[in-house]
């Protein structure tokens, strides 16, 4: 009887989820995972109320699957759907080949919202590894699911999960309509931040995840804007003749680095947001563009063709000293530091094809991560495990992701326009 009720509930939830997925504009296709992913059974979430708008356990399982590190066990293969630890028969899970079992229970919170209790059990050692409670508002079921996936991922891999983070991307419809979008990193809950008949380019995040900066051509010329996510309040930061591009917040959030060509050539500048003072950091007749901050905020890396071809250079802000970082290949551009500061990720042309690559800064070794063509705009997750990038699928712009060891890959095709320029958010809560 209990089982029957569970099946009925699950069917109701499954239908809701299908409906929700039909609305999501980006869908996930996993193309490659690790060789021996950890098997994990995320048991359907216990809930005694009516039909829920989201299937928490399914969302968490999908997160774990997308990481490439896990192989979630299908629900219909589970011999029972326990809700509490004393209902876990380890032998049954061992027979299924499951390394871990996740139990969860959802309860309403007085005044609206939900409370989620969950536990992680290690099947081999037959013990509870993790127990936690998370709470969210009436619209927060997906937040609870991602928080559960984050905790499980960290408990098992030792790496902080990044399923609760978000992404920006640009969607274009022909040359006519452009949208700046915000979505969960699984593509769900997309929200339009800006709509324009003119191009929107180079979105990126403030370090606290509360603001974004981007380039908009809405004035018929490129200009840099910043926008507060919570209020939608916008501010135009630049209006110079020529290029106003590639804005990126400093790690302390006080400055924005950018490219301006107001003095004749594209040069790297920083804008102090409090004093409104622009400081120029490069001085060369070649193209200098695409700045990115070092993690300590003391230097900028940028793309320059001062050597004849685009390569990555680094300028130390205090001294103005410029040093070349890349030597391998005839096109290296739009580099970013990995969170540990030990490598660059960048666009690298190899045999005439544009791929995403990493370069180890100490050894100088380059590793190509992607096999697709026309890859650009790599953006690394705050935990450094994966990066999002833009590529083409039969001349349609799509987003894709790859792990920094190249072992895991997935794609996020768009149902509507061309999507591009993904920007992975920082963590919204600091530790």
């Amino acid at each position: 009887m209990i089982f029957y009720r569970a099946v009925r509930q699950w069917l109701a939830v499954a239908l809701m989820v299908v409906a929700a997925q039909a609305q999501a504009e980006l869908t996930i296709e996993i193309t490659q995972g690790v060789d021996n992913p950890t098997a994990i059974a995320v048991v359907p979430t216990g809930w005694t109320g009516g039909a829920l708008p989201e299937d928490v356990a399914a969302i968490a399982a999908a997160d774990l699957r997308r990481s490439g590190q896990f192989r979630p066990i299908a629900r219909e293969d589970m011999l029972q759907w326990p809700r509490f630890g004393d209902q876990v028969f380890y032998r049954d899970w061992r027979v299924l080949g499951s390394d871990y079992v996740v139990l969860s229970r959802l309860n309403p919170v007085p005044g609206g919202g939900y409370s989620l209790d969950f536990e992680l059990y290690d099947v081999l050692s037959q013990r509870k590894v993790l127990q936690r409670n998370v709470q969210a508002g009436p619209q927060g079921l997906r937040d609870l699911a991602h928080a559960m996936a984050d905790a499980i991922y960290e408990a098992i891999t030792g790496i902080r999960g990044a399923f609760s983070t978000k992404m920006l991307y640009v969607e274009a419809f022909g040359n006519k309509r452009y949208r700046l979008m915000l979505a969960d990193v699984d593509g769900a809950r997309e929200k339009e931040l800006l709509k324009s008949s003119q191009p929107i380019v180079s979105p990126s995040w403030s370090p606290d995840g509360k603001q974004v900066v981007y380039v908009s051509f809405e004035t018929t010329r490129p200009a840099i804007f910043r926008q507060v996510l919570a209020t939608g309040e916008r501010q135009q930061l630049t209006n110079f003749r020529g290029l106003n591009g590639a804005p990126v917040f400093s790690p302390d959030g006080r400055k924005v680095a950018m490219v301006l060509s107001k003095d004749g050539n594209p040069e790297i500048y920083t804008l102090d947001l409090a004093t409104r003072v622009f400081t120029r950091h490069t001085n060369h007749f070649a193209i200098d563009t695409e700045p990115a901050w070092s993690n300590d905020g003391k230097s900028l890396i940028f793309t320059s063709d001062r050597g004849g071809k685009p390569q990555i250079y680094q300028v130390t802000l205090a001294s103005g000293r410029v040093e070349r970082l890349t030597f391998d290949g005839d096109y290296n551009a739009r580099a970013r530091f990995t969170p540990d500061g030990k490598s660059l990720v960048m666009v690298h042309r190899y045999n005439g094809v544009f791929h995403i690559a990493t370069q180890d800064l100490e050894s100088g070794m380059i590793r190509v991560l992607t096999q697709t063509d026309l890859d650009e705009s790599p953006s690394i997750a705050p935990n450094g495990a994966m990066l999002l990038y833009a590529t083409k699928d039969r001349s349609k712009g799509i987003l894709a992701a790859v792990s920094l060891d190249a072992g895991v890959k997935f794609r996020l095709p768009s149902k509507q326009g061309d999507v591009r320029e993904p920007a992975w958010s920082p963590y919204f809560t600091k530790r």
């Binding site: 060509s261 193209i287 793309t303 551009a333």
Partner: protein, 165 residues
Amino acid sequence: MLSSALKQSLTLAVIMAALVGCSSTSTTTDSADADSAVSSAADSSAVDTTDTMADEAVEALDTVFYFDFDKSMLKPEARAALTAHAENLKAAPKAVRLEGHADERGTREYNMALGERRAKAVRDYLVLQGVDASMIETVSYGEEYPAVVGATEAAYEMNRRVEMK
């Protein structure tokens, strides 16, 4: 899209035919270097068009100028058309907007800079011919506004351009 591409190559063909008609041997050599798409248009269907439209060559001056990959050097046919534009602009000054573009290969902001460099190459040439620099505005759209959609060399050639407006 196709018709605008066709129109562009026809216009080019008109200019090139005019050049061949009134200029020295170097022009002939230059036309052999031009895009294969354009050459074939000139070789085949455009011959009749040339005869009937030769008088309109000045009005039909090309306003789109093409570039090689990662390059901002003006091609000979662009220089010829721009020389004629410069004469017109000196005779009857008006505001000109030069919009630089790149093909989709490579990164967006680098292409933005490349589009600007191309627009400035066109501006500098016009200024060298005596056009008032204050009448010229340059804007780069990088790879944001492809003239032709597609990941083929033919599409890329049409997209690496400066449009005079």
